[in-house]
């Protein structure tokens, strides 16, 4: 196997972005001055930084017997109002204790260690850190005569409650899905994997959005090279905004121009937990329920989390069906064109006569018919997704039933074409991953064109090129088409088939390729058997 490919950059990364940054006082474009010990001076500086920010709250108060002026600074809405009022303000107001040195070095430290009834507190000392802290939902406590500031973590748990994920639906399995809040998402993960080896490393991406990103992996099971590579690639990202995990996905994938998705994502905690447990690395992004998981192989896109919650025989059968329909989704229209235009001999005579009879009077050649119908289908699909739900249903009824029916009756398209296109559409819904289905949808058009020029031979050429591309891809050092090619019998137990849980004693070799060879997942020979009656 190849070592990890180094990601070469043709030009060195530009030190500065072209776009103007949102705030003047970000650490990058100022020398990030330290705080002064005068409260008024700090206040002026911060006020100029936060000019015209109505949601910023300055709460001035005097604490202790000396009536030391202090200032609480926080963003309304992203901090928890209750914590600010009940814990921070209360504990500050309740300071009756007099500091012997008056305003001195100990003051901030004293408040931090003696008075504050909050868990998450850090001392910071620069304007930049204060600004960043306030913007990420912390409360900053400034004190007259002290050049340090207390950053008090009070992030408000805003966002929707944990609900059932909309994508990746299951019949049997957990019903919870990730939300837009990063901490909620990592909590959902922690509740599944109760192990100190589950590491969550924090990275902040986006100069303006300051999106928190967490890299989650199981130490000792994940491949340390993959973890290092993920960190390295993420560290190279220098953008102004990260609003969705797709921003990261596009910047860390191996082949940016490949048509196939190379990084899987999911909004199901159980799927992410399962991935982490078999040695994959998850990338949580704040603000989106979709969590990336690497390294991804093609087969992961063909697996649903429910495969593991059904009995293995059903799961294997469903997977076989899925693979069959994956081929249909890619090849069926092309096959129809190739067979009807070039190789009529392949069809049984009765069927051939039927098709020919149905095509009598059809004004367009098959290729035009199929292409028009396919494009219409794509449009219907897009219209159905974007519109509000009730309207979307109307669109699909009008499109599917009315237009289809009318087109056939008007003799514009032959009924068999409608059957083929509809079957293809249904087949592409059988692919569990939406992004992989998109790739197949695009490739289908290529196949249609190839089939209409060279028939079956053209389809063969297309498949060969596609296959060559698929086997040449790798995702974070893992061959994309594994375990089929390069073939790996041990990993085949969870590929097209899904063996029962008692038979999957080892984690997949390619993802759990760790240094200490820690692959065993469970005790071997767990196959249930009736109790031995002789013993």
């Amino acid at each position: 196997m190849l070592p990890f490919r180094s990601r070469k950059r043709k030009k060195p990364p530009e030190p500065e972005l072209n776009q103007p940054l949102a705030t003047e006082a970000t650490p990058e474009n100022q020398e990030n001055p330290s705080l002064s010990s005068s409260l008024a001076e700090n206040l002026t500086t911060l006020q100029s930084v936060f000019a015209n920010c109505t949601d910023l709250v300055y709460r001035e108060l005097k604490i202790g017997q000396e009536q030391v002026p202090a200032l609480l600074l926080y963003m309304d809405g992203i901090t928890d109002e209750k914590t600010v009022n009940q814990d921070i303000l209360k504990s500050l107001v309740n300071i009756r204790y007099s500091n012997p040195e008056g305003s001195g070095f100990n003051n901030i430290g004293m408040i931090k260690s003696v008075f504050m009834e909050i868990g998450n507190i850090t001392e910071i000392s620069t304007i930049g850190e204060v600004v960043e802290g306030v913007l990420t939902g912390n409360v900053a406590l400034l004190l007259e005569g002290d050049a340090r500031v207390l950053k008090i973590g009070t992030k408000a748990p805003i966002g929707r409650i944990v609900s059932e994920p909309i994508t990746d639906g299951v019949v049997r399995g957990p019903r919870e899905g990730f939300t837009e809040s990063l901490r909620t998402n990592t909590t959902l993960l922690r509740r599944k994997i109760k192990d100190p080896n589950l590491k969550l490393e924090k990275v902040v991406l986006g100069r303006t959005t300051k999106t928190e990103v967490n890299i989650a992996y199981l130490e000792g099971i994940a491949n340390p090279k993959v973890v290092a590579e993920v960190k390295k690639r993420i560290a190279l990202i220098d953008v102004d905004s990260v609003l969705e995990s797709a921003y990261i996905e596009e910047m860390i994938e191996d082949k940016p121009f490949s048509i196939f998705p190379q990084i899987d994502h999911s909004e199901r905690p159980d799927k992410i937990a399962a991935g982490i447990l078999q040695g994959q690395v998850a990338i949580f992004t704040d603000g989106t329920p979709f969590v990336l998981i690497v390294p991804t192989m093609m087969l992961h896109f063909m697996q649903s989390s429910e495969d593991y919650y059904d009995r293995s025989i059903y799961a294997s059968w469903i997977r076989v069906v899925r693979f069959l329909f994956l081929n249909f989704a890619l090849l069926l229209p092309a096959l129809y064109i190739a067979v009807t235009t070039f190789h009529q001999g392949l069809l049984p005579t009765a069927l051939l006569i039927n098709i020919a009879a149905a095509r009598v009077g059809a004004p367009f050649p098959t290729i035009i018919e199929v292409l028009t119908m396919e494009v219409t289908f794509e449009a219907l699909r897009e219209a159905g997704i974007r519109l509000p739900k009730p309207v979307g249903q109307a669109v699909s009824i009008v499109g599917g039933l009315v237009i289809g029916e009318a087109a056939v009756q008007a003799g514009m398209v032959s009924p068999i074409t409608v059957i083929v296109v509809a079957l293809t559409g249904i087949s592409s819904f059988c692919i569990p991953s939406y992004s992989f289905a998109l790739a197949i949808r695009i490739l289908r058009f290529g196949m249609i064109i190839l089939a209409s020029t060279f028939g079956l031979y053209g389809m063969l050429l297309g498949l060969l090129v596609m296959q060559a591309h698929l086997v040449s891809l790798r995702s974070f050092g893992v061959p994309y088409f594994a375990p089929l090619a390069p073939f790996n019998l041990k990993d085949m137990k969870d590929s097209v088939m899904r063996l029962p849980w008692w038979a999957m004693g080892e984690r997949p070799r390619l993802t759990a390729n760790n240094t200490n060879n820690n692959r065993q997942r469970q005790k071997f020979f767990l196959k249930p058997a009736p109790p031995d009656e002789n013993g």
Binding site: M1, L2, F342, H343, G345, L346, P348, F454, G455, L456, Y457, G458, L460, L461, L463, L464, V465, Q467, A468, V471, S472, P479, F481, L484, A485, P486, F487
Partner: protein
């Protein structure tokens, strides 16, 4: 570093298998039956035996010069100048084989699939795709053979089972009715097409376990021999020697025999698709071997840029050399075996002798 890919023994086996079969399963059985008559399948077996003997030489040379393919060790053995002259014959041979294989494949595609499409268009597309794959390097080729190889083997075994009811063993008898001469002449003909897998000498340095080279070749050539043996024996047993010897491709005629209760006919197209696919893949390997070998002779850092020009030369050769299919078949029948025997056995044995006499060894 020219090629960074590493292949494992399984891939090695399938790659050799894919290289032998399309070559051997198309025209060769017909020619062989013409030469050896009912003894054709015996010729296949003896060619298999001789090829295994030859494989010992190649495997030994691969181990004697670790990490070097025959292009490199011919330079090591014979020195800078003579070594290069001898070494360049191998890449050129591969280019020639690529020309012949793709030419005959396109011929089949043209007659079976697309009778109305101009032959040259098919030829160009075949060359384009195989150059595209070849340029992606050995790992991609290896992984693709891992998918297509088993498919091929499965399809040909299924084919044999399906046509078995029409097989009459009486048509294979008697053996040696015209003496051993036909059998003896058939053997080298078969050997030269099995011998194309001397490309193993290009693969051995890239194997993760070079010492398995011989075993790999043994299993590959055994599977290949099984395939050709099945095809020749079945076509003689089904069509009779008199008909089979004038068929351009007995395997294709066999596949045409299949029908499922008179309902689905012309299944041979499906079988042919696999055959054409593996043929294109085999020529990708040839193009790759050409590029790699030439790059090593000249001492280049990368071979990738030589694949497309190589494919172009090969395309031009197949366009201008054979005005008709008959000439191509004649070339295959009379000229190619002589040349192949010279390159495959003569050159390698010469290199072996030279290495033994000059006491040359590879550096470990």
């Amino acid at each position: 570093m020219a090629e960074k890919g590493i292949i494992n023994t399984k891939q090695f086996v399938w790659m050799l298998f894919i290289i032998i079969t399309p070559f051997a399963a198309m025209q060769i059985p017909g020619m062989l039956i013409m030469q050896a008559g009912r003894d054709a399948w015996l010729s296949v077996l003896s060619a298999w035996f001789l090829d295994v003997m030859l494989a010992i030489v190649y495997a030994y040379m691969g181990l004697r010069f670790p990490g070097e393919n025959f292009v490199q060790y011919s330079i090591t053995i014979l020195g800078k100048y003579l070594g290069r002259v001898v070494g360049i014959l191998f890449p050129l041979f591969f280019l020639l084989v690529c020309t012949l294989v793709l030419r005959s494949l396109s011929q089949v595609v043209d007659t079976v699939f697309l009778p109305l499409t101009p032959f040259n268009v098919i030829l160009v597309t075949a060359f384009l795709v195989s150059a595209l794959i070849g340029r992606k390097g050995i790992e991609v080729i290896a992984r693709m053979t891992e998918i297509l190889g088993p498919l091929y083997l499965l399809s040909i075994v299924t084919l044999s089972f399906l046509v078995l009811p029409s097989f009459h063993i009486a048509r294979l008898k008697p053996q040696f009715d015209q003496g051993v001469a036909p059998f003896l002449v058939g053997t080298p003909l078969m050997l030269t097409s099995f011998g194309v897998c001397i490309i193993m000498a290009m693969y051995i340095p890239l194997c993760n376990r070079p010492e398995n080279g011989f075993l790999g070749k043994l299993s590959a050539v055994s599977m290949g021999a099984l395939v050709v043996c099945l095809v020749t024996a079945l076509s003689v047993g089904i069509f009779g020697m008199e008909d089979a010897q004038y068929m351009t491709s007995p395997g294709l005629e066999l596949a045409k025999m299949i029908n499922f209760s008179n309902y689905i006919e012309r299944v041979e197209m499906v079988w042919l698709l696999i055959l054409v696919g593996s043929g294109i893949l085999a020529s990708s390997s040839m193009l790759w071997a050409f590029g790699q070998g030439l790059a090593q002779i000249v001492g280049l850092k990368s071979y990738q840029s030589l694949i497309y020009p190589g494919a172009l030369i090969s395309l031009v050769l197949s366009l201008i050399s054979f005005p008709s299919g008959l000439q191509h078949t004649n070339f295959f029948h009379y000229t190619f075996p002589i040349m192949a025997a010279f390159v495959e056995t003569g050159l390698e044995l010469f290199l072996l002798m030279a290495a033994l006499i000059l006491h040359k060894r590879g550096t470990t």
